[in-house]
């Protein structure tokens, strides 16, 4: 309307859900704002002081009224809470079959790595209608990955992975912003998410992956860094068998256990002594300073690609 | 020796109101101190859980003997402080002044031993950010531990210095015959502060020195 946008495009499966919640809150807010404003105007006019000697009469203050206007807002608030929490659960739980894209943020650009090796800077191409899961980290300070059209935002932290996901529902080009102040060019750390029809996306994929897929790059790095000398996969190897590790439960020294995910793999490479697998010695050297975040992503992709051991 | 009732400040109606206000004020101030140390202890505790091994190793770099001696020194100083308060309450000026001087002496002893500990850290190259030569796989977490050790005990030591100053002032006024059964509020309140600083140390000792395995 006259080039004045008032509402962002709805371009993801999450967007309509967030917008429905938004409109509910807008409705409640408009109702109460008009109610209070209306009452104030009405009372101010109706009870305008008519003479200096006017005296008011004390009113009865029913506790029932106080309780009503405590309980009713509380009830509305609980509706907002539960509804908001359910949308939140959707927003933070990527579907299992999501396409993986790895994101490294740094002052002041976004670097993307697709699993088949495509690398992009600031502009991210994704297919329409498929869930895309972003695994993200920062090389320096805290950033935040924000695509208003998808209603998606997640802080990107140095030293760990954070994840978010979306399923784009409308082809087009959408704003990508950094949403956590990160220094001088914070407002220049922007780009686009370009949503393509599936066939277009396929042909785009074919155009530029130099150096093979992420997993194959990771496999090469695995050899080059000497990981395979200890992680041989044999029974008495110095390091645990990594075949099929990803997604498996791992028992640690001390009895606790966890499910191996991207963060576990990253931490094990950079801080191997943080979590020792039960039955193994703490002898793995650290690769801190020897691998970049982008190289770590290739290792993660490689390990993810290792099938479960046949037994 | 007669003690004079406190001069009642103009905003108060009587001495009792003045005393009650001062006491409440001191308790609230101590509550702020709980939050102050609590904030730092929260950060310490979070990292203690995250980096248990490194923190245990860092704890082993501290001198448990000196820490224990200091604990005895500080607890004894609380005893002498309490005796001093009692002396003020019953009007025994010599007991009051002697006890407070002993408290000061013990406080200075505590700080001296702390100074020795700090000096050792400098000699051993265990001062993060300034001179840290410790190596080993846990070194970064040891550095964090020792940094938090310096900050916790440093802020505590600063409170000790202020406390010694306050006790000195009260000791001087006590020597001048200011306190007795009718008026001894400053002695009580300084005593409260002193005991609080002691209690903080009781928390610091096990958290810093004793969790070394």
């Amino acid at each position: 309307m006259w080039g004045l946008p008032l509402f962002p495009p709805q371009a993801s499966t999450l967007a309509p859900q967030v917008d429905a919640l938004f409109f509910f809150l807008v409705g409640v807010s408009v109702f109460f704002s008009l109610l209070i404003a209306g009452l104030i105007v009405y009372f101010a006019i109706k009870y305008h002081r008519r003479s200096e000697d006017e005296v008011t009469e004390a009113v009865h203050e029913p506790v029932a009224l106080e309780l009503t206007w405590t309980v009713v807002p509380l009830g509305l608030a609980m509706v907002m809470y539960v509804w908001g929490a359910s949308v939140f659960f959707t927003a933070v739980r990527p579907p299992r079959d999501a396409l993986d894209v790895y994101v490294v943020g740094k002052q002041w650009m976004w670097k993307f790595q697709h699993t088949d090796g495509q690398r992009e800077i600031n502009d991210l191409h994704v297919p329409l209608g498929r869930s895309v899961r972003l695994t993200m980290t920062s090389e320096d300070v805290i950033h935040s990955f924000f695509v208003p059209a998808f209603r998606v935002k997640q802080d990107v932290l140095p030293g760990r992975y954070t994840t978010t996901w979306f399923n784009a529902t409308k082809a087009g080009t959408y704003h990508l912003f950094c949403a956590e102040y990160c220094g001088t060019v914070h407002s220049g750390m922007i780009g686009h998410v370009i949503v393509m029809e599936p066939t277009e996306y396929e042909s785009w994929l074919g155009t530029g992956a130099i150096g093979g897929s992420l997993a194959s790059a990771g496999e090469k790095l695995f050899q080059d860094l000497g990981c395979s000398t200890c992680h041989t996969g044999q029974a008495n190897a110095r390091g645990p068998n990594l075949q099929g590790l990803f997604g498996r439960s791992v028992t640690l020294e001390g009895g606790s256990s966890l499910v191996a995910d991207e963060s576990y793999i990253r931490e094990s490479v950079l801080e191997p002594r943080a979590k020792i697998v039960a039955g193994y010695l703490p002898i793995m050297p650290t690769y801190q300073g020897l691998v970049t975040e982008e190289q770590l992503v290739t290792l993660v992709a490689y390990l993810k690609s290792l099938a479960r051991p046949s037994s | 020796m007669a003690d004079h009732a406190a001069a009642v400040a103009h905003q108060f109606d009587d001495a009792e109101q003045q005393r009650e206000a001062a006491t409440l004020g001191m308790w609230i101030f101590l509550a702020t101190e709980v939050m102050l140390f609590g904030g730092m202890l929260t950060a310490y505790t979070v990292y203690r859980f995250l980096y248990a091994r490194g923190f245990a190793e860092g704890s082993r770099q501290l001198d448990l003997w000196l820490g224990s001696i200091n604990t005895v020194v500080l607890i004894t100083s609380s005893l002498t402080m309490a005796i001093g308060v009692h002396g003020a309450q019953v009007g025994r000026r010599r007991l009051l002044v002697t006890s407070l001087l002993l408290t000061i002496l013990l406080g200075v002893t505590f700080l001296s031993i702390k100074g020795v500990e700090y000096a050792h850290k400098f000699e051993e190259g265990l001062v993060p950010g300034v001179d840290f030569t410790y190596t080993g796989p846990e070194a970064p977490h040891v550095a964090l531990f020792i940094l938090l050790y310096f900050m916790l005990t440093g802020v505590h030591a600063l409170h000790m210095v202020i406390g010694i100053g306050a006790v000195s002032v009260v000791a001087y006024l006590g020597w001048r015959g200011r306190f007795g059964p009718a008026y001894h509020t400053p002695v009580e309140l300084v005593g409260l502060y002193w005991h609080f600083v002691d209690i903080v140390w009781i928390f610091l000792l096990p958290l810093l020195y004793l969790l070394r395995h």
């Binding site: 004045l4 946008p5 008032l6 962002p8 859900q17 967030v18 919640l21 938004f22 704002s33 209070i36 104030i40 009372f43 101010a44 009870y47 002081r49 008011t56 004390a58 009113v59 106080e66 405590t70 609980m78 809470y81 908001g84 929490a85 949308v87 939140f88 927003a91 300070v141 805290i142 935040s144 924000f146 059209a149 209603r151 935002k153 954070t162 704003h175 912003f177 949403a179 220094g183 001088t184 060019v185 914070h186 407002s187 | 103009h10 905003q11 109606d13 009650e20 206000a21 409440l24 004020g25 609230i28 702020t32 939050m35 102050l36 993060p128 950010g129 300034v130 970064p140 964090l144 802020v155």
Partner: protein, 542 residues
């Protein structure tokens, strides 16, 4: 207590302003009223300095490009705007100016419990202000008022440590004022002044003081840790050195969320005073309003994680903080309903303080309701770190607190100065402020939902129209704020002489001359009734 008729009594012979002359009598004063005025000077200076930075920000945002100032300068502008407005204007404002002046008067005391500590609080405020002012003139700081690590400790090349030091020092000013007020309220009430006869402004100052006293020390520690990390390059919060940047956020917001309640509770207290006086009616639901202040103070300590829903904390933490954030909204809603109900069957005057009441209730309602959007985790993902948040907190802090502050200044101006402000132009100023405010900040809700992030120096072209509207509003708002500066100063010489009780208000502060004598009351008042006995009891006539 009966309300005396308005008299044009001459200004009393001797009062707190003329009992003593000379710079020393001010800089060494232990009179809470003079301390309040000393703060007024500092607060006003801070407001206009912070406001100047806001003007520059809004001018830059007239165009999508960064054509007024460089990016680094812009980052310093919004940082210093935030630091100055939060720590040197809003947090002290009502407590240190109106609270200091009115609290002892309202409880029938001669002064606060610790007058010299009160003066020390002011010196600490000024010391902190000097540090920050020095930073302003020597190159500024660009971390955002939130100082997130590792940017603030490892990346920023601006004057972080002097700023941190200034905030550290002013924090102690806040703690000591809170301590002073708590002891004063507990121990120095006049005979017969029980807790439930206290004016609601006193209840709000009490709740605010609790937060100041318990929350600020945590800020002190986190600033200390920040400074140590930056100075010594050690890894407390920097992950490259083994630290956790999210831990910084937890520690920072543990104070800074309760701090926002420091920045609204006193305003709510003022509104309770104004609405009763200018509707000439007892407050509806006194106990509910009183306890809601305490409820906000307590619950306010439990919700800090709602600033961190997308920061990387666990889903379960987010759930808990969202629930608690909804709970903390309820006491504020209760207050709004009770204020509105107070108007029912009132005798409502349209004098300027009442205009500020109307503005406050409307704007605070909108601001508070938009807080519900932010507490809603599914929705917050989209709007956090956008202009939606900026609009929300400005509705509360400017539409709410600043309007309450101005309302209080106008209401108590006759008591403080012995003069009345000019009613005509003050109404115009109030209206200008209301209209300018809405034009400035309402478009920002839309900008936020559209996706314009905070702290952006340049922005996509399609956001320009809304930004231009916002800047236009800011110009009007600026004029609105300048007017009181001018006419309030004018009134010191040419304003009508006020007399002890120009508003025919209840309240002990109106039972003494305007301006009050040095020790407030010639004899200590004895209280036998509640604070707002305006109305004729039900059933009585004539």
């Amino acid at each position: 207590m009966t309300s005396p008729a308005v008299t044009l009594a001459p200004v009393p012979q001797e009062h707190y302003l003329n009992v003593d002359y000379g710079v020393r009598s001010w800089l060494l004063t232990t009179d809470h009223k003079r301390v309040g005025l000393l703060y007024l000077i500092g607060i006003t200076g801070a407001f206009f300095l912070g406001g100047f930075f806001a003007v520059l920000i809004r001018l830059e945002l007239l165009t999508p490009q960064g054509d007024l100032v460089q990016a680094e300068t812009y980052n310093k502008l919004f940082t210093m705007h935030g630091v100055i407005m939060v720590f040197f204007f809003l947090i002290p404002s009502i407590p240190a100016v109106l609270g200091n002046f009115m609290l002892p008067l309202m409880i029938g005391a001669r002064d606060v419990a610790f007058p010299r500590l009160n003066l020390l609080s002011w010196y600490l405020y000024m010391a902190g202000a000097i540090f920050v002012s020095t930073v302003v003139v020597t190159g500024g700081v660009d971390t955002g008022w939130t100082f997130y690590t590792p940017y603030s400790t490892m990346s920023s090349t601006s004057h972080v440590i002097p700023t941190a030091l200034g905030i550290f020092i002013v924090g102690f000013s806040s703690i000591l004022t809170g301590l002073n007020f708590i002891v004063t309220i507990h121990r120095m009430r006049a005979p017969g002044l029980t807790w439930f006869r206290l004016p609601l402004f006193v209840w709000s100052l009490y709740a605010t003081s609790l937060i100041q006293v318990l929350g600020t020390p945590v800020l002190s520690i986190v600033i200390l840790l920040l400074g140590v990390e930056r100075l010594l390059h050690v890894g407390i919060f920097d992950p490259a050195l083994g630290g956790d940047p999210v831990l910084f956020q937890h520690l920072f917001w543990f104070y800074s969320h309760p701090a926002v309640y420091i920045m609204i509770l006193p305003g709510m207290g003022v509104i309770s005073e104004l609405v009763t006086c200018f509707a000439r009616k007892n407050i509806f639901g006194y106990r509910f309003v009183a306890f809601s202040s305490l409820g906000i103070a307590v619950l306010g300590f439990l919700v800090w994680g709602h600033h961190m829903f997308v920061a990387g904390q666990s889903v379960y933490a987010a759930m808990v903080f969202s629930l608690l954030s909804y709970l903390v909204a309820i006491p504020s809603a209760i207050k709004v309903f009770n204020w509105t109900a107070t108007l029912h069957r009132g005798s409502i005057s349209y004098q300027t303080p009442m205009l500020y009441v109307f503005g406050f209730i409307g704007l605070f309602t909108i601001g508070g309701l938009t807080g519900l959007f932010l507490a809603c985790i599914g929705l917050d993902i989209h709007v956090t770190d956008t202009y939606f948040v900026v609009a929300h907190f400005h509705y509360i802090m400017v539409g709410g607190m600043v309007m309450a502050y101005l309302g209080g200044i106008h209401y108590w101006w006759p008591k403080i100065t012995g003069r009345l402000y000019p009613e005509g132009i003050s109404k115009l100023a109030a209206l200008t402020i209301f209209l300018g405010f809405n034009l400035t900040f309402f478009p920002q809700f839309i900008l936020g939902y559209l996706g314009m992030p905070r702290r952006y120096h340049v922005y996509p072209d399609e956001f320009q129209v809304l930004n231009v509207m916002s800047t236009a509003g800011a110009s009007i708002l600026g004029i609105g704020y300048l007017l009181p500066m001018i006419y309030l100063v004018w009134s010191l010489w040419y304003g009508e002489v006020a007399g002890p009780n120009p508003w025919r208000a209840t309240g002990l502060e109106w039972q003494t001359p305007s301006p009050p004598p040095r020790d407030n009351f010639t004899t200590t008042p004895i209280v036998t009734t509640g604070p707002y006995e305006y109305s004729r009891p039900r059933g009585e006539h004539g």
